[in-house]
Amino acid sequence: MVRFIIRRLLVAIPTLLAISLAIFLVLDLAPGDPTGNLPLTVPPEVREAMREAMGVNEPIMVKYGLWLRQFFFIEPQYIFEDITGVEIFDYSDKVNNPPPIRILSWQSRAPVFDTIIERLPQTLWVLGLSYIFGALVAIPLGIITAYNQYTWIDNVGSFFALIGYSVPTFVLGVLFIYVFAVWGGWLPTFYDPLLEVTSWETFVLQIKQIIMPVTVLTFFNAAVISRFMRSSMLDNLNLDYVRTARSKGLTEWGVVMVHVVRNSLIPVVTLLALQIPGIFGGAIITEQIFKINGIGQLLITAIQNGDIPAVQTITFIFAILIVLFNIVADVLYGILDPRIRYD
């Protein structure tokens, strides 16, 4: 198993390098300009000087090489410094002996990683909660609808799952805002990232500002997961071992809950792991609608402002996540399903 993981990780490295180069080339071809959104009162010469200072005009391969070095060598060292407090770099003389430059956003001229780390918790909270709630709703729903296949219970359950799957999150989100925040006035429309939960009141406020995005995403996640669960259950319910279990005289509850559900959960759990990078995509839209300062929103503003280093870094992190969770899914499958052995 360990050897399998190591091999997968080693194979992932060239893949990721190829992806990073592809993303870099695509972005370099783009006609955007990081100073394009400045007021017209800023004269072109000044813009040119600013672009020069950002390093926009460097040749592509120089930029790519620098970025690779920053992403894989410099940033990890800074993160190490951040976590341990040990100073690797010399900060005593910033002018004559500056520490190595990190990946800087063209918008804020600040390290992209700092902004990402600052924004990660918001994204993780919303996504994590909606994923957990989604699974909690979906798995029982999948079991019930599959067990009662083609009855009215199944029809109603599957219909709602399909609706959750078909109504785009942005339509639902806009609807929620207007019903609960504007028309009803019960919930805030802006998310306050500086809110500190110190008392019951602030706790309630925190719930109020997070409940809409979490609900919208939960709805979608539940729909997706319950469809997985249902079809996985259906695959298992017709198999021989179920018949064997029944013929052994087990109670129906025992047959379904112990045997079928456990076996059906194996592919669902792997699918859950595979889906995780995908739901980061969903975060882009939800964060934009509910004004949450997460990673997705950062990506959108970066794209709109031609902030190539930020776009490059965030997209690449998404790619790493996908590769990583693919491996996790495979490993989970190996652990859960005794028929599969990795050697």
Binding site: P39, V42, E45, M50, R51, R109, F190
Partner: protein, 616 residues
């Protein structure tokens, strides 16, 4: 079962958050409010009377005895839907960063909402009259206020002013306002409170460096190590500049929110009123307007440029009001004087010493007819409601500089335009409904940036031009490309691969001389300057050049105003551009916020020290 899990999970979330955050000590201030309310209002009145600043400072010092009114208010919530990415305006050049930094760092002098210069860190405005500005127009001497402290408690001195110049003028800093400092030859700190600036050439209008929100003073002690290439390493400094303004940064989340708290060393001990100011970004202009006007979540929303009928419907909710104020911004159509035919290849839209005239827009009658056919009133009402005005001028403000010679264009005249074209021999020869000029049909490619209002303008103007026999093809380009400076992109406004294009432009502050200098022949964009100059119409007129030269030699304000009007009239009457709408800044403010004076010449938060909340 599911429900209880839900609650347990949230409780867990809560416990973890509590564990992570330090306790905030709340200060009870309710009883002081009544007393200080009057004080604050007094000061506002004082400022409005525009008494001399030195007196004002004395008044304020008297108030101090009356007792600490600083920070007695609650939280002021501002929505800046385009959120600031950092708080050092020199590192960004963008309006949102300049706005967000203005409660923290200050210039020597500011513009008030009427466009008049008022001192900020300077003791007074140096003028020809008070001798602060030399008769030969080359030397300006700023005297600073005594006893001003930085928010870290150290004294603010003339040396910091000199430093700001050094910081911004270094090309490797990538300073977004370096153009404001370029005219300076030498700058010296004569003593702690005197700065002497000598310009390279005579400058009749010397109020650019260290004036207004685009050129505030940075502290040498903080930014000393951040000059030149080292500027990129100064994230901590850029995210929390030390300033002299009423507020300091408590927390900053790039591209999302800023939390300000009062500056304990602010020069007026009774200000600012609010105990914290929270600036939140995200969403759209409409979300921002709604948060103030309808849901009452916020107190002030910046740049709430939404469809007028939507805004007025929101205003009916009664929580706040829409404010607007006018600078020099005019939405206009620029006319291309050079030929942009694709067949020309690399010579498209190049001036080529006058060898590449436009196929038909060289004909003055056509340019005039295009202008006459437009109903500016309808356009403006549809696009902006009563928050903007139709205009026929390139220079629509300040009032002393506004020409009245062109106001006839405010009435649409389709028939007149047709007659004009007929008279000039531009008629529809082949009966296809489109007029020809020397056999060339009047097909116009009309480009602008992607923006709902601009596309509304395009659609309407296309219909009107069709009525006078001009066919129009519309094109819109994403703003970041259109206004971008990529010399390899064919779609920038400076490349101008179209017959006409539409955008808004404004003078930088009140520098009308520099603004009108945009349309001099030396400013024609082309490959030699990477399309980096401002004479976008490729306009050449010797009369205009001579008149502008006179302007640069003239010091007398009245004479200057007269010349500006004449320059404006040449641009408009010669059809170089078709001004459409005088746009203002639009913002929304809660009803209970006092002291807001929306300002198009400076930051909207220029007087945030004076803001307070009315008692219920």
């Amino acid at each position: 079962m599911k429900k209880s899990l839900f609650i347990v999970l949230f409780a867990l979330v809560g416990i973890m958050l509590v564990a992570c955050q330090p306790q905030v000590v709340e200060v009870e201030v309710t009883r002081v409010v009544t007393e200080t309310e009057t004080v604050v209002e007094e000061v506002v009145v004082e400022v409005e009377k525009e008494v001399e600043v030195i007196k004002e400072v004395e008044v304020i010092q008297e108030v101090e005895v009356a007792g600490g009114a600083r920070g007695i208010g609650d939280r002021l919530t501002l929505i800046y839907w385009q959120a600031p990415t950092n708080l050092n305006p020199y590192q960004s050049g963008g309006t949102k960063e300049i706005e967000a930094s203005s409660p923290i760092i200050e210039p020597l002098a500011r513009f008030d909402e009427t466009g008049k210069l008022v001192p900020a860190l300077a003791a007074e405005i140096p003028t020809l009259a008070n001798g602060g500005f030399s008769e030969d127009l080359t030397t300006i001497t700023w005297t600073l206020k005594e006893g001003v402290l930085w928010s870290d408690g150290t004294p603010f001195t003339a040396d910091d002013v000199v430093f700001t110049y050094e910081y911004c003028i270094d090309p490797a800093t990538g300073c977004g306002s370096s153009n404001l400092f370029e005219a300076i030859d030498t700058i010296t700190a004569v003593d702690d409170t005197t700065v002497e600036i000598i310009f390279k050439d005579p400058r009749p209008y010397p109020y650019e460096a260290f004036v207004a929100h685009t050129a505030p003073i940075l502290q040498r002690a903080q930014f000393g190590d951040c000059v030149g290439a080292a500027a990129a390493q100064c994230t901590d400094e850029n995210f929390a500049p030390i300033g002299t303004g009423p507020y300091v940064v408590a927390e900053f989340l790039s591209n999302d929110s800023v939390l300000y708290v009062p500056n304990e060393n602010y020069r007026d001990p009774n200000k600012p009123y609010f105990s914290e100011v929270f600036m939140k970004g995200g969403g759209s202009a409409e979300d921002a307007a709604r948060a103030v006007l309808e849901t009452n979540e916020a107190d002030y929303a910046w740049n709430t440029q939404v469809p007028p009928e939507v805004l007025s419907a929101m205003e009916l909710a009664g929580n706040g009001k829409v404010l607007n104020s006018f600078g020099t911004c005019v939405e206009r159509i620029m006319v291309n004087f050079t030929d942009n035919s694709p067949e020309l290849g690399d010579d498209r839209s190049l001036y080529l010493d006058g060898e590449n005239p436009h196929r038909f827009l060289q004909e003055p009658a056509i340019r005039e007819a295009l202008s006459m056919a437009v109903d500016r009133g309808t356009l403006t009402t549809i696009g902006y409601g009563n928050l903007a005005n139709p205009t026929c001028n390139v220079v629509p403000a300040p009032s002393a500089f506004v020409s009245t010679a062109n106001n006839s264009c405010l009435t649409q005249d389709i028939e007149g335009a047709k007659a004009l074209l007929d008279e000039a021999g531009v008629v529809d020869g082949d009966g296809d409904g489109i007029r020809e000029y020397n056999g060339i049909p009047l097909n116009i490619l009309y480009q602008t940036s992607t923006n709902a209002v601009r596309q509304q303008y395009q659609a309407l103007i296309k219909q009107w031009w069709a009525e006078i026999g001009v066919e129009t093809e519309l094109r819109n380009i994403d703003a970041s490309v259109f206004f971008g400076g990529d010399p390899s992109s064919p779609d920038t406004y400076a490349k101008f691969y179209a017959d006409v294009e539409m955008y808004t432009n404004c003078a930088s502050g009140q520098d009308l001389q520099g603004y009108l200098g945009s349309w001099l022949p030396g400013e024609i964009p082309g490959p030699d300057n990477s399309w980096g100059t401002s004479n976008v119409p490729r306009y050449v007129n010797d009369e205009y050049v001579a008149l502008h030269e006179t302007l640069t030699q003239t010091g007398d304000p009245d004479e200057r105003a007269e010349i500006v009007k004449q320059l404006n009239d040449i641009l408009v009457q010669d059809g170089v551009m078709i001004p459409l709408t005088h746009r203002g800044s639009v913002s929304a403010s809660g009803n209970d916020i006092l002291g807001v004076r929306i300002n198009a010449w400076d930051s909207e938060l220029w007087n945030i020290a004076d803001w307070s909340r009315a008692e219920n």
